[in-house]
């Protein structure tokens, strides 16, 4: 029996752990777990006033701080029956678009692309692919600027509060964003073309793909929870079908639906809402013969690139059709109750749920991040992929590289705070 342990294969601190055991060229164990320290956010907010919650939960993740802020505000407002104005809804969507653009551009260009162009990272890639890196930085920059102008900061936005906004982007801000977004449109389309041209491995799993579905647009902050297997429920009912399980090898919980894994993220969103894409996006996708819904997780890269174009266009449309003025915050009449909210964070549906007492203090909190919900499915995908590669007699070193690609296609955000990945490889 030979025991092979690969520590820190990514040369970063390993907070997630993949344990693989192979016997006679057959995979007998594959465990993917997060080993990060527990962060107690759900406990930290208990006892806090309703208007402090967003500020605290935003800190769950720097990458998805807008998503956590929006979901937190939505859940809080639902608990108190606060109906925000149309302008507030639009500004919240615009801010979320900024986050989506920067997150997808960063993920696609700096995590995914080097894998397919044969570079260890984006830094050596940059010398040879300057045009692509410039494009990526410009897209990230416009995403950052949208969040900054709408939220007051690039991360952990401060202008959005329960009941509305404490400041809104000026006419000059909007004109600037609009002009930059129009310049970025071709860059987004070039991104879609680029990611359609890459050759992806084929590994298909028939997993339930869950996303929000707002009917007339791609999902962001609202919509029923739907799946490719017939699920169609309100966000209030999320806890009726999702269970959280604990495994001894992971401090992060595993979410399952009726005992089975499911998939969240761009692949599910695009699959469940494909008809809402504009014709020009569909044309590019069809030109490269991609079909959505897709069961291949690697096609999530194409789905993200398509979303990049879609949301950039939506931001242009918002800015062309709206002028913003500072409005009075909607009055909050505090009462005991519970609010549940679901939004689409870049990596999939994010749930926040709070119960309040009659003074508006939190008595209970439940937060389910997309990566926690995707963890079980990710483990199954890795399992299936390793089996496929073992059948093809692929060498261990290459298998690990391919697993890395798969994990990157999933675009995990390990409990929104950690690094990835340590692989323990046990071969008998």
């Amino acid at each position: 029996m030979a025991k092979i342990t690969l520590n820190h294969i990514t040369k970063v601190e390993g907070h997630a752990n993949l344990s693989v055991e192979i016997k006679n060229n057959k995979l007998v164990r594959c465990e993917l777990g997060s080993i990060e320290g527990t962060r107690f956010f759900e406990g930290i907010v208990v006892g806090r006033r309703y208007d402090e919650i967003k500020e605290i939960t935003s800190r769950i993740c720097g990458i998805c701080s807008v998503s956590h802020s929006m979901t937190s505000l939505k859940a809080t407002e639902k608990a108190f029956d606060v109906k925000v104005t149309k302008q507030t809804e639009i500004l919240r969507e615009l801010m979320s678009i900024g986050e989506r653009i920067r997150s997808h551009a960063t993920h696609l260009y700096f995590l995914v692309l080097p894998d397919y162009l044969g570079f260890e990272s984006a830094i050596p890639m940059a010398k040879q692919y300057q045009k692509e890196v410039f494009r990526a930085l410009d897209l990230v920059k416009i995403g950052n600027e949208i969040v900054l102008k709408t939220g007051g900061r690039q991360m952990h936005p401060i202008s959005c509060v329960v009941g509305g906004f404490t400041s809104v982007p000026s006419k000059e801000d909007c004109d600037y964003l609009l002009s930059e977004l129009k310049k970025s449109r071709k860059k987004a389309f070039d991104t879609l073309e680029l990611f359609c041209k890459l050759k992806y491995p084929k590994v298909e799993l028939d997993m339930e793909q869950i996303s929000l579905k707002p009917e007339t647009s791609q999902p962001m902050l609202k919509g029923a929870i739907v799946s490719n297997k017939g699920l169609n429920v309100s966000e209030n009912k999320y806890s009726d079908f999702i269970d959280e399980k604990i495994e001894s090898y992971s401090t992060a919980k595993f979410a399952v639906k009726n005992g089975k894994s499911y998939l969240l993220g761009a692949l599910s969103r695009v699959g469940n809402n494909f008809e809402c894409f504009a014709v020009d996006i569909k044309k590019v996708i069809s030109k490269y013969k991609f079909i959505f819904p897709s069961k291949n997780i690697f096609n999530q890269n194409v789905a993200q690139a398509a979303e990049l174009v879609y949301w950039l266009d939506e931001a242009i449309s918002i800015l062309e059709n709206n002028e913003f003025e500072l409005q009075k915050l909607v009055f909050v009449s505090v009462k005991a109750g519970t609010g549940r909210a679901a939004t689409e964070a870049p990596r999939g549906i994010l749930f926040h749920e709070y119960s309040f007492d009659d003074s508006g203090n939190v008595t209970h909190c439940n937060i389910m991040t997309p990566t926690c919900q995707n963890l079980r499915g990710m483990e199954e995908y890795v399992h299936a992929f390793i089996e496929l590669l073992l059948k093809k007699k692929v060498k261990k070193k290459e298998i690990i590289l391919e697993i890395e690609k798969l994990i990157r296609a999933y675009d995990p955000c390990f409990s929104c705070s950690t690094h990835f990945l340590q692989v323990d490889w046990l071969q008998k």
Binding site: G62, T106, L111, V133, N144
Partner: protein, 126 residues
Amino acid sequence: MKTKKVLCFGNPFIPIDSLAIEIGKELKLKGFEFVICVSPQEIIQHTNFSFILDVCENIKKVSLIGIKDLKANTLFTLHDFDLNFFLQLMKSIGRIDEVKIIAIPINYDKQKAKEEIAKILQRKNL
């Protein structure tokens, strides 16, 4: 005299990572503008900066270092992107030249750091 921009990075809520930001807010030096940055990505927004101020492990006094002195990480999730990544990337594509990084030891005395930083910034040959 043209004002030189000093980008100050850190996390204001984490004591061991907040010193550069605190100093950036407090230090007043003629000819220098201190810009507070709380996310590594903010560097994309700036091209015409002269210095970076940040805290650094494994040094004993305020030191002037270059990009080449930084150790690169391999990236796996969006949380792995650090200032070093964006500096290396922007240098690779020629968006910035060699950057002078003023590194402050973790948990260093703030007053002492301010004096040493001022001394470095006011060197004539920089």
